[in-house]
């Protein structure tokens, strides 16, 4: 009952009350200006807010059934062509269509998934890969791949055995796992190491 009232307020007061950025409350304000749309609620619905709170995210659906296994079996390293930036900076990066076509212009061209890519190329579009790993915005984590690669942390330590998967499956990474590893490696565990 009480929760219902709060939920109702969540939905309705926005329409009953003046907009959240209200005008005309202090004399110094400029008059006759439209309310700036600088702010929105952090979540559109209560459901979104609850999902964000519990960290519920939809599974990433990839446009192409990319097989990591096939590529790893053909001795392609993670950072060789597809995620090269992992050795250089924060983001590992996702391959562009051009990277794929370097090989697939000639390899396995008759495979239906590869033909999808050819179709993309013909339309002049890039593949809209969905990001699988990543921190929720409210975690405020600034993860940098490069120092981890330099410290010889294997990709699979965090990403799991992607080499045996088709499209990558998300693992739930927790702060506890980061800390355990950082402590074992005697890396910094100060908050600002990652959160800034």
């Amino acid at each position: 009952m009480l929760l219902l009232a709060v939920a109702a307020g969540w939905r309705m007061w926005g329409t009953v009350l003046p907009p959240t950025v209200s005008e005309g409350e202090t004399p110094r304000q400029p008059s006759a200006r439209p309310t700036p749309s600088v702010f929105t609620p952090a979540h559109r619905t209560l459901g979104d807010a609850v999902e964000a709170f519990f960290g519920i995210r939809p599974e990433a659906v990839q446009p192409i059934a990319f097989s990591h296994r096939v590529h790893v079996e053909n001795d392609l390293g993670c950072t060789d062509y597809c995620h090269p930036h992992a050795t250089e900076g924060p983001q590992a990066g996702l391959p562009s269509l051009r990277t794929c076509m370097l090989c697939h212009a000639t390899i396995a061209t008759e495979h239906p998934e590869i033909q999808k890519m050819t179709a993309y190329e013909e339309r002049g579009e890039d593949v809209t890969w969905q990001r699988v790993f990543g921190f929720v915005r409210s975690a405020h984590v600034r993860f940098n791949h490069a120092p981890h690669v330099r410290a010889d942390v294997a990709c699979a330590t965090c990403h799991g055995d992607v080499g045996s998967q088709t499209v990558a499956q998300r693992l739930d990474l927790t702060m506890g796992q980061c800390i355990d590893c950082h402590e074992a490696q005697q890396a910094a565990i100060e908050c600002v190491t990652c959160h800034f």
């Binding site: 009480l2 009232a5 709060v6 939920a7 109702a8 307020g9 969540w10 939905r11 309705m12 007061w13 926005g14 009350l17 959240t20 950025v21 209200s22 409350e25 202090t26 702010f39 609620p41 952090a42 979540h43 209560l46 807010a49 709170f53 927790t174 702060m175 506890g176 800390i179």
Partner: protein
């Protein structure tokens, strides 16, 4: 004291519980509507952001923290007064204690809501609780807000038990009187109380220990609330006097709240025979005493600040006394000192109406006092470039009003479900010597009481 038989007492005091009048429904619906409005306002605030409240930079705390301090202050009504009166065997306490303890519990529940309401991200408030999590990081026990968490929890647990223990025999009484489904509920609540001499003695020992312990808890709670301010280097906050000053103010507003609640109960539940002029007079005298103590603290605080002439502090001092907050300040002085002093020190004015008027004024005055402690200091911090102002918004006002309604609603529901005057204690007191003199009774008299036969 009441000149009534045990049976009459039971009948009178159980009547409001067993019979339900339309007034109860009217009050419950009206107050409930306000509470729902407040909850909706809170929901809106969580959805849109805390910015729908009037707080800004540099006034980061406003109405919500004012309400927090005010309600925690009111909570000292009860347990502290009731515990002191019990320990001093003040015979006139008997019809008063339960109402006082109920005020404590409800005011604490409401007051403890405000630190949550005022949070920017209230859904993460559980981080104040030291629980094992994979993050391995626990609350910072150096923070006065964490002290608050511990102090308020201790006080809430203590005062709730202090209210419930002496309720058990009355629940047994209700178990025997009530009919239908309520009988089963009361039967469960009464925990199978039999009323053997053994149990009575245990209850008395337990209440005695609780009464002793609850006093240092209550003192510490409001001291810690004052530390929320005193720990920060903000002009006029960073003060060593704040602990006792806040405790005195808390007892002051607590007595006022108790008098108002008693007056309402007396009218609404027709308890004129139990809540007599004597009770209002005795509490009125206590109120007068606390008014003087409070005035002393205010004077001492403001004199030392003025004499010290520290620029940042004096800026706040004069902003309050003759600046934008002067109106509120002098209203506070009138409500907390002038009016109660006149109404309570002149015997002819110290009637029931007189004490109630004084108490209402004190409640207003003490709310203003909390506001004037919190806001003006924040508007005038050290660097004049960042001075600011504060204006409450509709959301804050709605939530504030809703908490007063919530207090009323909880009180109405409580007095509906349980006898608001402790029946067994009243009977026990009636059977002992009819001591009419108000005030504190000395030990020899109490002993005489105990051995006197009916």
């Amino acid at each position: 004291m009441t000149g009534k038989t045990a049976k009459e007492i039971s009948n009178d005091l159980l009547r409001p519980v067993l019979d339900t009048s339309w007034r109860f429904y009217a009050a419950a619906v009206l107050l409930g509507a306000l509470v729902v409005a407040g909850l909706a306002a809170w929901g809106h605030q969580m959805s849109a952001g805390i910015g729908v409240a009037g707080i800004n930079r540099p006034v980061f705390w406003g109405f919500y923290i004012t309400n927090f301090v005010f309600w925690i202050g009111v909570s000292h009504a009860g347990t502290l007064i009731s515990a002191i009166l019990r320990l001093t065997h003040a015979p006139w306490r008997r019809p008063v204690t339960r109402a006082a303890e109920a005020i404590t519990v409800f005011a604490l529940m409401i007051g403890a809501m405000f630190p949550l309401i005022h949070l920017g991200r209230p859904w993460l408030a559980f981080w104040l609780f030291p629980y094992p999590s994979e993050r391995r990081i626990w609350p910072n026990v150096r923070s006065p807000l964490v002290w608050d968490f511990f102090a308020i929890n201790t006080y809430l647990v203590g005062s709730t038990l202090f209210l419930l223990l002496p309720l058990i025999p009355d629940l047994a009484l209700l178990r025997d009187r009530a009919r239908g489904w309520r009988r089963h509920v009361y039967r469960l609540c009464a925990l199978g109380w039999a009323g053997t001499p053994h149990q009575w003695r245990r209850l008395e020992t337990a209440m005695h220990i609780m009464a002793i312990v609850i006093i240092p808890v209550a003192v510490s709670v409001h001291t810690i609330v004052s530390f929320d301010f005193a720990m920060a280097p903000v002009p006029m906050w960073h003060s060593t006097i704040f602990g006792p000053y806040f405790v005195a103010g808390a007892i002051f507003s607590g007595i006022a709240a108790l008098i108002v609640a008693m007056a309402v109960l007396r009218r609404a539940l027709r308890l004129e025979a139990y809540l007599q002029l004597l009770h209002f007079e005795s509490l009125g005298k206590l109120l007068l005493l606390m008014s003087l103590v409070w005035t002393y603290f205010v004077f001492a605080e403001r004199l030392t600040t003025w004499y010290g002439n520290e620029p940042a502090e004096v800026a706040v001092l004069f902003a309050v006394e003759r600046g934008p907050y002067a109106g509120l300040f002098w209203a506070m002085v009138f409500c907390n000192f002038v009016l109660p002093f006149v109404m309570l020190s002149i015997k002819r004015l110290r009637t029931i109406t007189g004490t109630v008027v004084a108490s209402l004024a004190v409640l207003v005055g003490m709310w203003l006092e909390r506001f004037l402690i919190i806001v003006p200091s924040l508007t005038r911090k050290y660097l004049p470039y960042s001075w600011g102002t504060y204006q409450p918004t509709l959301v804050e006002i709605t939530i504030t009003a809703a908490t007063f309604a919530a207090m009323g609603l909880l009180f109405v529901l409580f007095s509906k479900a349980f006898p608001i005057i402790s029946i067994w204690e009243l009977k026990e007191g009636d059977r002992r010597a009819p001591v009419v003199a108000p005030g504190l009774v000395d030990q020899s008299m109490v002993m005489a009481d105990r051995h006197a036969n009916p």
